[in-house]
Symmetry: C2
Subunit: 223 residues, 2 copies
DNA sequence: CATAGTTTCATACAAGCGTTTGAATTGCAA
DNA sequence: TTGCAATTCAAACGCTTGTATGAAACTATG
């Protein structure tokens, strides 16, 4: 039975380096140096660089999806099969945001790795990523149960916008900090989650009438 | 005086290739092959690969910012120095969205290049990108004039969310299409703009009270 | 201890990268 | 046309990349 120690140090080092510097700037030699193992160990244990990346991504992807679904199930159980819309959205964006932001001196490498993966979309990851659609579909279904009267298209857009705000907040928190000169507190994760959830709920529950060419001012500058 | 023809074909080919395939997968040899020029021409005319990328980015960046500011000025002029908040947001997200989405058989390479740049953040671009903060500050100031009563932090978050929704819609339109099985119409650019503007306006004009721990349900699942 | 299987190691390899070189070619002024 | 600078070109450079190799070291069973 293998000790798995080399395997594990490679996975840890790779995840941390990819999280910190992105996929493009990290070579196998960087990884093995950080892991304190021999260069050939990567190909011996994983077959190739791409398979190493794929294993990292699959592992973390399953974990994140599990955390989100757990929150969703809990919310639906609490409501007898139908969760409140804000609870659904909180289950969608909460796990990732909590993982990637927050006052911890160094955030979880796992979460930052996933952000990188979602940003840089390197080939081995892109191949796996299509399964995420099925995962999101479960949230779309829950939202439909929660807001049975809503237009389905609006639900998709609301889901999309919620993910967009969460994602961009993680991705470009630096810009927001600079722009606001520090007045936007990115360590207040729960506050950020509630902000995103509140906006998404508003987007999802606004009146039907203004689904297009809403305000008079809007229609004026159509160009 | 140089004919500039080689220079121009390199710029065009590079922009198109980077837009299509990203920075990581495009080599100088790909570019010169597409441009029909010699390999050494890049270094002769631009000095280095990084300087070529930087020139592309600076050019397009200035153009986009100019388009946004033009719309902003027009909106402010129309309102006698104080634009409606929705007009400001439309000026912010409109130019980019119109450039990157839409029914055109092939979208503008320039716009898709800018999206790549904003996604992949290769070093020569990252160095330039900090100027964007100053550009966004003008929109923050306009928003403050438009909504003088609002908390400044809320304005920054609203600006941030508006850009997040626009950006993610461009970036990951494929996912939304798949998720909604085509029912979200990504060719209806003006509809998308109005959707984003409407949500952003709601985010910016919601009542002060719920800036944190808003709904009772929200407070319950704080974790 | 001996031996077979697993894991590590130093080293090499082919391929691709951005860049450089120096000679050919071009374009234009005198 | 001659002459000179600007431009183009084929070829090569040095370097880094992921991967492969075969020997050495380790581990555990008989």
């Amino acid at each position: 039975m293998p000790s798995d120690q080399t395997r594990t140090s490679i996975l840890d080092a790779a995840e941390r380096l990819y999280a910190d510097r992105g996929f493009a700037d990290v070579t196998l030699r960087d990884i093995v140096a950080a892991a304190g193992v021999n260069l050939a160990a990567v190909n011996y244990h994983f077959g190739s660089k791409d398979e190493l990346i794929a294993e990292l991504f699959v592992t973390r992807s399953l974990a994140t999806n599990r955390a989100r679904l757990n929150e969703l199930k809990a919310a639906e159980a609490e409501g007898g099969g139908r969760a409140e819309i804000d609870a659904i959205l909180r289950a969608l964006v909460g796990p990732t945001l909590r993982g990637c932001l927050g006052p911890g001196n160094e955030r979880s490498a796992a979460a930052r790795f996933m952000i990188r993966a979602s940003i840089e979309a390197v080939p081995p990851i892109r191949r796996i990523k299509n399964r995420e659609i099925d995962h999101l579909r479960k949230f779309a279904a829950a939202m439909q149960r929660s807001l049975p009267g809503r237009n389905q298209v609006d639900l998709y857009w609301g889901l999309h916008f919620a993910l967009a705000m969460a994602h961009q907040t993680i991705r470009d928190s630096e810009r927001l900090t600079k722009l606001s000169e520090g007045s936007c507190d990115l360590d207040d994760v729960q506050g950020i989650i509630e902000r995103i959830v509140a906006v998404s709920v508003m987007a999802l529950t606004r009146r039907e009438a203004d689904s297009r060419a809403s305000e008079p001012v809007a229609a004026r500058r159509g160009r």
